[in-house]
């Protein structure tokens, strides 16, 4: 045991292991513990019960789960469509200009997400920048999408774009041009080159980007609150109100646990189906 601890690799990993224990595993265990405590209690020492689970599944929380998963999925699909061509350009075509695109996309990350979302509110507001400009230029008033579901999707797509784009760029850069030329030389059409060579080889990047965006969107709160108003309640909203407004930690914990389990299950299922090692060519 001591000998194991004395290895340089293990010693170097100690700080991060401690951080993960205290900052990640610890809270997760506490949330799991609270999930099985009697409702509206604040102690971890009560008699374990399934009361929270039962009250959640018999209530209408499935709607929030549905919205969260649905919106997260929609965001992933929209971002895949938007980011694929741009990442292709950045990986293969733009050359030195790709750095400029990277900077343009990365700089907004330096500004707080909430401030950027409030910026969108000002833009989309009735008599805001979009509406006011249209009125001034063309004398029309269009209905604003602010406080509707499309506004939430817009917010999610906007905020999580870099998390899809950069993994895709790396994924596409990993596809050697010679492989595509070879496929084309062997008679493959552009579509066949895409399907047989480019897509499978870029899959690790596609998977990582999709996963990041999916998980982040699933836990997102600000977009639905700031841009969505009360249009829909996402699961993170429910968890927050259980912990704060309702002062019901056990219920909030059970909701959080169910979210972790359901997204974990989805991810596990996805990775199980797609063999990353084979895609990268390690096997």
């Amino acid at each position: 045991m001591m000998k194991w601890l004395m290895q340089p690799g293990v010693r170097a990993a100690v700080p991060v292991m401690l951080l993960m224990l205290i900052g990640f595993i610890g809270p997760l265990l506490m949330v799991t513990g609270y999930s099985f405590m009697p409702p509206r209690t604040f102690s971890l020492l009560g008699t374990p019960t399934l009361a929270n689970f039962i009250s959640i599944v018999t209530d209408s929380y499935y709607i929030s789960f549905f919205w969260s998963i649905g919106l997260a999925f929609t965001t992933v699909v929209i971002l895949l469509v938007i980011c694929y061509p741009v990442s292709y350009g950045m990986a293969k075509i733009f050359g030195p200009w790709a750095n400029l695109v990277t900077i343009i996309i990365a700089v907004p990350l330096l500004i707080s997400e909430n401030i950027r979302l409030f910026g969108w509110v000002l833009f989309l507001l009735k008599n805001g920048i979009a509406d006011g400009s249209l009125h001034y230029l063309f004398d029309v008033h269009l209905p604003s999408i602010l406080y509707t579901v499309p506004a939430i999707v817009l917010g999610l797509v906007y905020v999580y774009l870099p998390f899809m784009l950069f993994p895709l760029v790396i994924g596409l850069a990993m596809v050697p041009d010679a492989l595509k030329e070879a496929a084309s030389d062997l008679g493959a059409s552009r579509w066949q080159v895409f399907r047989e060579v480019e897509l499978p080889l870029a899959m690790p990047g596609i998977m990582i980007g999709s996963l990041l965006v999916f998980v982040l969107s699933l836990g997102s709160l600000a977009e639905s609150k700031i841009l969505g108003g009360q249009a829909v309640v996402m699961i993170a909203d429910d968890i927050e109100s259980a912990f704060t407004f309702a002062q019901n930690w056990p219920k909030g914990s059970m909701l959080a646990l169910l979210l972790v389990i359901s997204s974990g299950f989805l991810i596990f299922f996805l990775f199980k189906r797609i063999d990353l090692d084979r895609l990268i060519g390690r096997r």
Binding site: P176, A178, L179, E181, A182, A183, S184, D185, L186, G187, A188, S189, Q192, E196, V197, P200, L201, R278, L279, I280, G281, R282, R283
Partner: protein, 359 residues
Amino acid sequence: MSSGVGEPVLQLRNIVKMFGDFKAVDDINLAIEEGEFFTIVGPSGSGKTTMIRMLVGMDRPTAGDIILRGKRINDVPASKRPTCMVFQSLALFPHKTVGENIEFSLKIAGVERAARRLRAEELLAQLRLPPESYSKGVHQCSGGERQRVALARALAYEPDILFFDEPLSSLDFRLRKTLEKELKDIHRETKKTFVYITHSLEEAMVMSDRIGIMNAGKMVQVGTPAEIYDTPHNKFVGEFMGEVNTIEVERTGDKRVRSISDGAEYIVSFEPDGFVHGYLIIRPEIVKIGQAAEGLPNKIQGTVFNDYSLGSRVQYQVRSDSDQFQWLVERLQDEPYEGGLDDTVFIGWRSEDSILVSD
């Protein structure tokens, strides 16, 4: 189609390729015969890679015509050409098995699974790969196996012409030698037209029926290995063959030239038409040294200052007394030069053994 008897399978007419202001390929004319093993040799930057990319259809010539069996194919993309290339990197699909790699073109063409497998197994056998490698991953294959898989994949396409972009360059010497011979065997078995590019003239000599030598975007000389070896057209080709002694000379009379550096006169047995000024190329292996040099028409006095063993031969370096030129002389290992280092000796050669070239 107009592919009559004796008509070349592939013809290049005045091919030019510009990259901006840079002329990568400069007015090349070439005819490749049906079934021959033709090798384009040139140093890096000579334009040979640009050349093959145009022939395969991955680049378009700026000017000129590429004619395949009488049909101009400049604008036909690689995917629609009945030709195929083995890449320098081999470009095997890492996410597919050996079998799937070989069957790729058949799958694209919509051939049924069972028929594809049959053809892949035939090709595995033809390329001396064990049948069980069919389901192996590409990454589990050795360097030599991967070469064979790449070749099998190209052969499965049934190309009219098979192109090779120095696929053997990354292999160690012994494996390269083995595969060079295997490639020649496969050429003989399949009777297909092979067009190979390499920077190694030695590799070209082993395999090719004819060789085209490229330099600075131009095709400098085309001929059989023997023609290239015996009668290089210019200094570049002569020196590209390997280590040679090159002396700058000018004409002084009928079959007589004078060295520019020390004014020594040499006799040659052949001079190109209208020769005034050029180079005399003398291979190390034809230069005699010591007693063997006695009585030769072209003689130089010098000092032996180095000897190297080349395995079957010994190479001596001799510094000429008159102009300090460092001569290379080679003898067989079992008949070495009788003297020692720092001895003053005569070296010489017969006039018919030297090669005189213009420019």
